[in-house]
Symmetry: C2
Subunit: 363 residues, 2 copies
């Protein structure tokens, strides 16, 4: 006998995407924010390479800087509690603002700390990597890794703003820029033919001169997230290339030449999932091959061999998207159209992995 | 130059309140849930006293029981990570259900673990104390204490259902039942004259025979939460009696005779805030005195003395509701009508505390 049913539209986040091309634009914007204090989260790389480039934007306000060691390996509980402890010692209030200055690791863990402190502080993301600008800094997924599982502990908490300052791309090593471009390409495939043609022509070398490409990737992501913020349906199309990509990335963590960068693993995942898309989602075979060749320019050793497939398939089974242990994919039907939750038998996945991996090792 | 603005109505929780008066009703209801597995969180008291009374409702499904030590002192990070670790070891999935069987500590920490694992598992609350049935188990505030500050780390995550099984009240010591009734009385004051007349007549002795009183308190809370789930405005009226109540509770933690139960501290807080309401919110003075006498039946030693007021005021300054260090209250204008964010000078608070405390010590 239900006596009372409550349906609520609660939390209506307003997430703003800004592209600020010059330091004076960025300064002016930061100065216009009305928050009493900033709590700036950096890693030691972004503190050294990025903060000095924009320090003037932080000069007219009380700022507390919290620096964590770089790398996903520190995206875990101890680091999170250090941040929360520091927030408490500073007596941070809801009238203050957390500023995440860094790549996906920083926005993931800084977003989670913001979500949890006093049940939610406002925060903004200032992504410093191409990957974060195009993808990770948007969409409100916050997390840390736990018990060896990526992003097992987290929450949805949306940044008030994400500010893209393309200047930061100049601080990136070539390899990271290239790996980040993989997400731009994936987003372009999901956006449609024109976006794909443009993104696959321009390439990471010219991205600094063409920041609108990053913008478009970010906008597409936000449009999809808006329809399905908590990842129960349509948002899963963003997983294209990632079911295998994540498993390959996990495999590479213990490899003597590893780990692969996220984008490098996803490039390989894209090649395999484009093939799966051609086989099981009606994607045009010629287009799949052509797109796969584009992604092949972004892979990077260590490459798995056929004898690693068992281990990769094991990692896939642990992927939290797989309800009831069946392996599900987001697959491309054509540029601009994708299916979610396509269940594929493990044998068929193995066949495609064998095909792709022998192609890489015997081009 | 904002290029893209996203406004979202995300997460539309459906929170159901159920009153189930008999074991067979409860069994039938639990059996009807379609989740594959239950992850049941208890403390050692509710595991011993409450679980056996309803064990038959869990017999036809795979259940994992996780038992934590009792008491708010364990509502902290280590306990949270133990729960999350166990969830991971069990391979919990979104198709499973977390069941919080206990008082406010259990629903707070179990709700937080549910919110964080895989960015959100569904959970239900099965409150076992009067306090939790009438108040704590509703409203989606989850938390742990951190750095000595109550509920500093948490999030908003709504239970799918809260099930009130009044039978559990028979397991409670008289002192806890009495303290829990204070929240019933506070809710009744906020609901209006009739609710107050009823709640102040019935009393905790007859609550088991009158579960509709609990129900009404819970419904009122959910109605207010629905209007303001994230506590930015109207929901703060629920803080009536709690600005001073929390500070008195914090004071009692280090007292050799302490700690006071939450409801006992709130009863004292209500007496003081009813007086403040008469002085600064237009509450009828006779009514304030009459209501204050009702709450005085629920206070319990240790009582603070006038020399403790400094320390109580210190705790108040740390209360996270106080923006910019001014002390703000929710005050009653009349039964059914309250103001939020009423700022009162510390001197005036001290005067009222002195008056109330001398009244208690020299009745």
């Amino acid at each position: 006998m239900p006596t009372f049913v409550m349906r609520m539209n609660h939390m209506q986040p307003k997430s703003i995407l800004l592209i600020l091309n010059t330091l004076s634009e960025l300064e002016e914007h930061l100065n216009s924010l009305t928050n009493e204090r900033f709590f700036v989260l950096c890693d030691s790389n972004t503190w050294r390479e990025c903060f000095p480039r924009i320090a003037s934007g932080f000069s007219n306000r009380q700022c507390h800087i919290h620096i964590i060691p770089p790398g996903e390996i520190h995206k875990q509980a101890d680091t999170l509690w250090d941040i929360l402890r520091n927030m408490a010692l500073e007596g941070l209030q809801k009238s203050d603002l957390v500023v995440n200055l860094g790549g996906g690791t920083i926005s993931d863990i800084g977003g989670l700390a913001s979500a949890l402190y006093q049940r939610g502080l406002p925060y903004i993301n200032l992504p410093t990597t191409l990957l974060a600008m195009a993808d990770a800094a948007h969409g409100g997924k916050t997390a840390i890794d736990f018990m060896g599982i990526k992003n097992l502990v987290g929450t949805f908490w949306f940044p008030q703003q994400t500010i893209i300052f393309p200047e930061f791309l100049r601080t990136l090593p070539q390899r990271e820029l290239k790996a980040g471009y993989v997400e731009v390409l994936k987003q372009a495939l999901l956006a449609g033919k024109r976006a794909w043609a443009q993104a696959s022509t321009i390439g990471p070398e010219q991205i600094t001169q063409n920041p609108q490409i990053i913008c478009r990737a970010a906008e597409l992501k936000m449009k999809i997230v808006k329809q399905d913020p908590t990842d129960r349906g349509i948002r899963q199309i963003l997983n294209l290339g990632h079911t295998l990509g994540h498993a390959i990335e996990a495999w590479s963590l213990t490899h003597p030449l590893g780990p692969m960068l996220h984008g490098e693993a996803v490039a390989l995942g894209m090649m395999a999932e484009l093939r799966l898309s051609a086989l099981y989602a009606g994607l045009d075979e010629d287009f799949a091959q052509q797109a796969s060749r584009v992604f092949s320019r972004f892979i990077h050793s260590p490459f798995p061999t056929i004898s690693d497939i068992d281990q990769i398939q094991n990692f896939m089974r642990y992927d939290k998207k797989n309800r009831n242990a069946s392996i599900r994919f987001s697959l491309l039907a054509k540029p601009g159209k994708a299916y979610i939750g396509v269940s594929i038998a493990e044998k068929k996945i193995r066949n495609v992995l064998e095909e792709i991996l022998s192609g890489i090792h015997n081009p």
